[in-house]
Amino acid sequence: MIRALSITRSIHDWLYSSMSENMAYFIEMVLIAIVYLAIFAVAGLFLVLIERRVAAWFQLRIGPNRVGFQGLLQTMADALKLLSKELTGTEKADKFLYNLAPYFVIITALMALAVIPFTQDFQAFDINIGILFLIAISSIGVIGILLGGWSSNNKFALIGAMRSGVQTISYELSIGLSLLTMILITGSLQLSEIVEVQKSGWLIVQGHIPAIIAFMIYMIAGTAETNRAPFDMAEAESELGAGFHTEYSGMKFAYFFLAEFINMFIIAAIATTVFFGAWLSPFGITESIPILGVFWFLAKAMVLVFLMMWFRWTFPRLRVDQLLTLEWKYLLPLNLMNIVIMALIVWLNLTIQF
């Protein structure tokens, strides 16, 4: 199940030759977990930096540019500062759940990364229900938000958490259905196979009109999933202080913060995998060098992340009723219609293939 790059193969062989199979398997999993954790903790920090620079440019500002070259170390310094800060909490908080909540959020965010195919063999966990696993994992994160909001015994946090619950439960549907539309073409939930199908054209080209509609719905619902503006009612700085994480400080706050950015990356990564051919290069120009797949994957994901930042710094926040109207009256019926159209297209063989 665990595939690895060829450079890691020697470690793999050495582990299996020097100890019993179960032990080696276990150690290998721990190693991979540590590598992923290290990579994505740093990547998350850089996403925060990118967001801040991009936000500044949208608002005709400059953004952080003092710490390190062009501010590259700014978020590292912020993380160090947060690490050294006191962990405060409210007197009447439900201590156990209060402390548990941030870990729920960050662990689910990191778990989802395991199935994402960064390049040919760079995928920690290639299960046959990949997409389903991603959808399921990304909806567990909301439990952390609900727990955090409820247990911190603060009315703003509670309101934020409840809004987040409403929002995530509604938009989960759209995410699932829009991905399902694409599954109709691939016929498989396994991510490596979805990539395989796209060797004859990215799915957004193969599925043309319904695929583009599905992509638009996916991006809207995905932005809502990550609780980012214009769907950031769970945090809503101007209304609720900081929403569900009002009472968190120091590193626990940083977990929530980091999880938001990793989730954003995951949403972009899923879109890249399902719509834009994951690590496949455009027109197969670098097909002979599989390691460049990482570059293509990250490039596509970053473009989508940028799109989400663009949304955030353009649109004003929705009200709760507008949010639900958008989902239940517009996105959901359109989505169902779209699935039927897509089914017809696949049935009549109208997909565009190269």
Binding site: V54, A56, W57, F58, Q59, L60, R61, I62, W310, F311, W313, T314, F315, Y330, L334
Partner: protein
């Protein structure tokens, strides 16, 4: 059918908004309004409407326009301005006349409301652009705005 036209209108307006912010994003590096202050101290130019402190401009012959009417002193809500005045002999007419000795301005009490500048009938005082006013002793913030030996500009009172 308004359902579908709503969707069309919604998407269109969203794209309009995104094109506006997108343009700002692309031009931002040239037009950034951020002033990286201590670095560009030499070239920094404040905006015309910036209210830094109240100043009294003097011309080359060390003359100002203040007649000592004390309207600004009365208008100031904080008692920031104190006019210490005197009676002197007017050179032209030979009559006794009111003139200022010291225009005392306590910057530490000023709220930059601008009432004194609005009320001055001869436009003797105006806004200065300096904002680097931090000092270690607050008495340093009490200023005399008319320069020593300065006189009233002729023709101001006509």
């Amino acid at each position: 059918m308004s359902y579908f036209s709503d969707i069309y209108k919604g998407i269109k307006t969203l794209l309009t908004g995104m094109s506006v912010t997108g343009k700002y994003f692309l031009t931002s590096r040239k037009g950034a309004i951020t002033q990286q202050y201590p670095d560009n101290r030499a070239t920094l130019k404040m905006f015309d409407r910036f209210r830094g402190e109240v100043i009294m401009p003097h011309d080359e012959e060390n003359r100002h326009r203040c007649t000592g009417c004390q309207k600004c002193e009365i208008a100031c809500p904080n008692g920031t301005i104190e006019i210490i005045w005197d009676r002197g002999i007017d050179e032209e007419t030979g009559k006794k006349k009111k003139k200022i000795d010291k225009f005392v301005y306590h910057l530490s009490m000023c709220t930059m409301c601008g009432l004194c500048i609005d009320v001055c009938p001869t436009d003797a005082i105006e806004w200065g652009q300096n904002f680097e006013n931090s000092v270690y002793d607050r008495t340093a913030l009490t200023r005399v705005l008319n320069k020593p030996g300065s006189k009233l500009m002729p023709g101001v009172e006509d």
